[in-house]
């Protein structure tokens, strides 16, 4: 088995290296990918077509918004899949094999708890900043959402999962996760109801008090908010289930 694995891996590697010789030089401005019409179009027209300075945000949430919607769905799928697999609706510890988590101290450490209490509000404010400032600086829905989720994970790490679950109960996680995707796909659906194709944001200018191009910019913020809501809820849910083998009690 080991020899076979090594053979398959070396064969794949050799195949990949064989093609490397054919690649354009690293950092070339004129390679098909970098100098091609597609990428140049994004860079040169993004300010007139969407008014978003961060080109990555514009391409992510407008030109390729459909990808991003399903990327959010991937996160959602992971969240519900982990609940479906691990969530223990009965008595979890029955017959569970010995694990490291069984002999953890009961009481949370004072220093860690206090430090986390200080850090968490700042972290959450920063997460919202990252989300809202995604048009102008690196960041956006995913990064903001992950940081927001991480702040809840931090609460759970410091005080135990039950404390964090008070702020973000299981029911709330599902509602928030679904709401996030609903915000995203609902925005697309509104475009569809207004008579244009799915996710064609410019038509939103009919209901938003802006011109069609600015409507794209606003719609990007709306869908990024949806992404952030889903990602934050699911990231916390993934941690809460994995850290407690699905019982949602105790934790690390």
């Amino acid at each position: 088995m080991k020899g076979l694995a090594l053979f398959a891996v070396v064969l794949t590697g050799a195949l990949l290296l064989y093609a490397t010789g054919d690649f354009p030089a690293w950092g070339s401005v004129h390679s098909p990918a970098n100098g091609g019409e597609l990428s140049s179009h994004y860079i040169e027209n993004v300010r007139t077509e969407t008014k978003v300075p961060n080109i990555v945000t514009a391409v992510l949430a407008d030109y390729r918004s459909y990808d991003t919607m399903f990327e959010t769905v991937v996160v959602f799928v992971a969240g519900i899949a982990i609940i479906a697999l691990l969530r223990d609706f009965g008595n979890g510890s029955r017959g569970y094999p010995p694990a490291l988590a069984n002999n953890l101290p009961e009481e949370p450490d004072l220093i860690i708890t206090q430090t986390c209490n200080l850090v968490i509000p700042v972290l959450q404010i920063f997460a919202l900043y990252v989300l809202a400032h995604g048009h102008y600086s690196p960041g956006g829905g995913f990064q903001g959402g992950v940081m927001l989720g991480a702040s809840y994970i931090l609460i759970a790490l410091a005080n135990g999962v039950e404390v964090a679950m008070k702020a973000m109960s299981e029911r709330k996680i599902m509602l928030l996760a679904a709401t996030g995707i609903l915000i995203y796909s609902g925005t697309g659906l509104i475009c569809l109801l207004l008579g244009e194709n799915f996710l064609d944001y410019h038509v939103l200018s009919r209901i938003l008090p802006t011109d069609p191009i600015m409507a794209r910019s606003h719609a990007i913020l709306i869908v990024e908010t949806g992404v952030a809501v889903t990602v934050a809820a699911i990231m916390f849910s993934i941690y809460a289930n994995l850290a407690t083998r699905g019982t949602l009690k105790g934790g690390l």
């Binding site: 989720g149 991480a150 790490l157």
Partner: protein, 81 residues
């Protein structure tokens, strides 16, 4: 020409990847994987992929490592290989 900083980072990447797969203590392996993620995040910032670096820092080095550690705590810490 690739900057020398890149080359150093890339070599370190391979080293951390190998260590993460060699150590038998899975908790240590998770932590080394966290280091690997931070190095690769640095590399992307250096390659001007700031958004990717940001996401990798938050997702790869942050959440991934945390859920890996959580799993180690709920399963066995020692590995045979």
């Amino acid at each position: 020409m690739i900057p020398i900083f890149d080359i150093i980072l890339l070599v370190f990447l391979v080293v951390t990847a190998l260590i993460a797969l060699r150590v038998r203590d899975l908790l240590a392996a998770s932590m080394v994987f966290g280091i690997y993620s931070f190095l690769i995040c640095l590399l992307w910032a250096q390659m001007t992929a700031v958004d990717v670096a940001f996401t990798e820092a938050a997702v790869g080095a942050g959440v991934s490592t945390v859920i890996m550690v959580a799993t180690v705590y709920q399963t066995a810490r020692r590995s045979k290989d």
